[in-house]
Symmetry: none
Subunit: 210 residues, 2 copies
DNA sequence: ATGTCAATGACCTGAAAGGGTTATTGACAC
DNA sequence: GTGTCAATAACCCTTTCAGGTCATTGACAT
């Protein structure tokens, strides 16, 4: 018997998943929650084999939940189930230890198959997700460079940002005007697809760009 | 109509695959060969959408064939079909551009499903293979450094900060006022001995506080 | 020689950040 | 039952950030 906990903030969907999975032979839903605020305590109490995890939840997002659960018990299989199919969230989940990544647009049959697969040691993914994961192993002949085309100069800027330098201080340090600093950072934000310096620094550090 | 070429040095298996796939609606086998000695010319002539590729073939192995085919036409989807499930061969194939990796022990149904998936832009893999691919993204467990007395709540704030949330967005996300967000962050900056959010995020990520 | 692109610089605008100060509540410890 | 502290909230103020648009220079490649 495979025990499953569900984390999904949409009440109706959560109820639906509970019903769907619970009615399946060999599966038992041992927990269903709308957020992961106290997820470690819940996992400790429910002892699921598999966790079905949404990403967008109030309070604590699914990405952090994955890390917390895997730290508490690395044997738990975590199956992501989300609408997000961007690389950022995908690889954040995988690096935290998720064992599968399904998009919500997939069918119920796919979901059930995936749950069986993940329990059997597989790594079920939605088709497009799997392709993108495989593509990251391809040799860098493709135009998609892992560093997003960040130049050496831009790396310098990023590095100073991580040390808490303001634009003005960066300008003084590099002997360029504040406006140029701004220009560089605007370019960096565009290349990294982020909105602000904080997010840029996080992405750069996580992806080892600097 | 999906056109398929088969590279498989076992004569009986190749004939079987040709029969199995050819009898499937929507598929047409346009080439079936026992080795890849002249694969580029064959691909050029046959123009398959998908190539089913064995690894252990006389003269030229399937791993090199993958590279040659992808160099000739990057649009071709290459589906590995092999008995080998070691990491060396697996990642060699992936880095050469394979779009899927199936083990021969999988069922015929799996193979046919995989061929459909790969044509639709997916990345089908045998369960154990997929899990190993996903595991390569897991970041190695690093011991936590002293966390400067950062509380759980504060970790949540930090986590949202790394995702580019503004103070206001954090407030909405956590159901608290912007002023409280500011208060929390002020405390965090003090505890971490930093001046701004950017520096805090850098420090938190580098020292694995979050 | 022409085009692309990195690096440099500027101006305007509104939104956001961050420092200072003060205060209440509830939990937990001593 | 008193003290500590996390979490909550508000006000003031100045600086900084980030988006938009426009422009010049020098390298390098086609």
């Amino acid at each position: 018997m495979t025990t499953i906990s569900i984390y999904e903030d949409n009440d109706k969907l959560r109820a639906l998943l509970e019903l769907l999975i619970g009615s399946q032979e060999g599966f038992a839903v041992v927990g269903a929650y709308g957020n992961g605020q106290t997820i470690v305590e819940q996992i400790e109490h429910d002892r699921p084999n598999v966790v079905l995890m949404d990403i967008d939840m109030p309070g604590r997002n699914g990405i952090d939940c994955v890390r917390l659960v895997k730290e508490f018990d690395p044997a738990v299989h975590i199956m992501m189930h989300t609408v997000f199919d961007d690389d950022d969230r995908l690889f954040a989940c995988l690096s935290n230890g998720a064992a599968g990544y399904l998009l919500k647009k997939d069918t119920a049959t796919h979901l059930l198959t995936a749950l069986q697969e993940v329990m059997a040691g597989g790594g079920p993914m939605s088709p497009g997700i799997a392709r993108r994961v495989l593509q990251t192993f391809q040799r860098p002949e493709t135009p998609r460079s892992p560093t997003y085309g960040i130049t050496l100069r831009e790396q310098e800027l990023l590095s100073l940002l991580t040390r808490g330098y303001t634009y003005r201080m960066i300008g003084i340090e590099l002997h360029i005007s504040v406006e140029t600093v701004r220009r560089h950072l605007k370019n960096i934000y565009q290349k990294l697809h982020v909105q602000c310096g904080t997010e840029a620094v996080a992405k750069a550090l996580r992806e080892r760009i600097i």
